[in-house]
Symmetry: C2
């Protein structure tokens, strides 16, 4: 007998028919003796309908009231799923975030979970109930309804799994697992049976949007085994766990990429203490997030800075940079918003030499010019011209043998 937390997203519970399908799936787990907690999102479209109502009233809805409003979406789903399970003669009981209770701070629309009271839930599990919990929502110390931000149902599921020391947290979604890369770019992409939390974080932050980053961080922190599965097909999905020995076999686990990048360079900057802050401070102050940063070796007391920002922030960042350049008496500012970032990710890097060399050789053989390089312990990222994206991903996928199991 295992204790399993399952999370179903908005698409999986988008109609009453689909809710009935979810109930049938949940029942198979309970019938084989597992204790099951189900976390659900609002029916797809419902959250947007509610936000639409608020926007009809005002363009600046109060965050506290917005949370009161949108939290009704999940509340509808928990009641319907509970009814659907009861119809299958499976005892079930629904809980809002406040009823559990999932205690959060008071940061409406982006609250963080502080504590979960598992007493009632545990009692219901022990009397054979499936417990259904509204995702995405909690309650602060004063009894105000809070929400964890969009997609926060994943976080609820992981937090419930951590609090109840569940054997596995299963995230049901519209894909059947985590792939070595995006199958739309490389049809030979292969579903991974396992991936580590660290790798998953790198993959997620680089644009593989299977899971919310915060939920993966949370799962890693509390060592909750996380599994990504399809709501609509049977299959084992991908298990996200702590690093294991058999993972050492694979040099890298996957190739991630991000199309939303743009590159900015400021040349001829006096190379003196504090200059990086003078350049990057005003950019950050304008709420522009900086991703990669490269500073060239100083030549004759002058240096160059190159960094990447989200493509939507390109124009704003370049304007700020030109102002800074004038203030510092620096040289010209260059920019390019037709670039992409391609990364290889894998804990295997730690114990395998020559990974970077193979990456650079592969790109070089395809005559792909590398514009920036950045590395971390389990990731190597390069910036290349946008037009090379598919070629770079496919050639790296082949070079590291990702179409075959590692």
């Amino acid at each position: 007998m295992a204790l399993i937390v399952q999370k179903y997203g908005g698409t999986s519970v988008g109609t009453t028919e689909r809710i009935a399908n979810v109930a049938a799936k949940v029942k198979t787990y309970r019938d084989r003796g597992d204790q099951v907690i189900v976390v659900v999102s609002a029916m797809s479209g419902e959250t947007n309908r509610l936000i639409g109502l608020a926007n009809e009233i005002t363009d600046k809805p109060n965050p506290r009231e917005m949370d009161v409003l949108v939290s009704t979406g999940e509340q509808v789903t928990i009641a319907l799923l509970s009814m659907a399970l009861q119809k299958l003669n499976c005892p079930a009981k629904s809980y809002t975030g406040s009823q559990v209770k999932i205690l959060t701070d008071s940061a409406h629309s982006k609250a963080r979970i502080q504590d979960i009271d598992d007493a009632h839930v545990r009692q219901d599990l022990e009397t054979g109930h499936v417990v259904i919990v509204a995702g995405f929502q909690g309650v602060d110390e004063k009894g105000n309804i809070t929400t964890l931000g969009r997609g926060g149902s994943d976080t609820t599921a992981v937090a419930m799994a951590a609090a109840l020391k569940a054997d596995e947290c299963q995230i049901y979604t519209d894909v059947d697992g985590v792939y070595t890369t995006d199958p739309r770019v490389e049809p030979k992409a292969r579903r991974l049976d396992k991936i580590t939390f660290e790798e998953m974080l790198e993959m997620a932050s680089l644009g593989s949007k299977v899971l919310q980053i915060r939920s993966v961080e949370f799962a890693g922190k509390y060592n909750v085994p996380l599994r990504v599965l399809s709501s609509f097909e049977d299959g084992e999905g991908t298990l996200i766990t702590l690093e294991e020995e058999n993972m050492e076999k694979a040099k890298i686990s996957g190739i991630a990429f991000n199309r939303d990048e743009s590159q900015l360079t400021i040349q001829g900057v006096p190379d003196e203490p504090g200059v990086a802050y003078k350049i990057l401070g005003p950019i950050a102050d304008a709420n522009v997030e900086i991703d990669m940063i490269v500073q060239n070796t100083s030549q004759e007391g002058m240096t160059d800075f190159t960094f990447t920002v989200h493509r939507n922030d390109f124009v704003k960042a370049r304007e700020i940079l030109e102002q800074i350049s004038a203030e510092l008496g620096a040289g010209s500012v260059h920019g390019d918003d037709a670039i992409v970032k391609v990364s290889i990710v894998g804990v295997g890097m730690r114990s395998h030499a020559g990974i970077a060399a193979l990456m650079f050789r592969t790109l070089s053989e395809e005559k792909i010019n590398i514009r920036m390089i950045s590395t971390s312990e389990i990731k190597i990222s390069v910036v290349v011209d946008e037009k090379y994206l598919e070629l770079a991903v496919r050639s790296l996928h082949a070079a590291f043998g990702l179409e075959h199991e590692g």
Copy 2:
């Protein structure tokens, strides 16, 4: 400065535009210095939409989960109304029944209020907030969401007014007050400025569906002045209060009627102790509510019973009665479902003689045959053939001078 509780029903908050109108109306009260608590229902159609979703899942939805589901309707409205008030720079804060908290018993879908914690609400009123409370819902001792049954928002409003000792509880609806009779039957019907709780209860129970009976009972019990007003037009509405001297002037306040009646008679019943129970017990056991009951004087040890039931229960009740008649060795069973009940209501009856005589004379002059009579301290009801309904109402309205102020 007064403390006012206002209640707006589903039609009054049926669209975001109407919610904005309600906000403007609420603000006029606060701007003149009143403290305002607003109780709202779900947007019209929303409760039925939610019930529809449940019925797609199962034809026997669990009552606890049904309450979780339908209580979201009011939760949406409180958030939207709060936003609409804030947009008018009027501080506002929403409360679900559970947040208030409105403690009820655990009878899902027909819970009764046991206690209201007014601490948070009072604090918000004192800091200048309009407090918006979800009608129709509460929470039981264990934290389960409960509902008071359809139309229960009126009860919430009165209970809040009682708990906070409000100066007035205003029920906004789609009519502009309580009338001497239904204006669709008698166009000369006049809006009453005042009516007593007792009279209102008799009017409501007889089919004038302006207010939920339970809310009037509650208001009477706790002596909460209740006012019925139109959401859409300005006006003073009708104030429902304890009896006052100036009410003595009017002999009667209004004429109520009920079209949903049917009449059953069992003849030749042995007149012995316990026979009433033998006849009426099985009817009540079948969940058929009996309204008027008349037993004739015994003749030669035999008597007749005549009673009225809701027209929907007519066939069922007659079948039961025929079975009882066979068991008791009684005579024949007669029934008529083309009858109506017409009543005159007024606390003035207590101090005025000749009211009944005037009623019977008026009906007699119109050649309307009276089939049953029943009286209470402030009401005289007669059963007549359905075809006489309009004639009876209009002739009584004229005979008691109801078109003029009393």
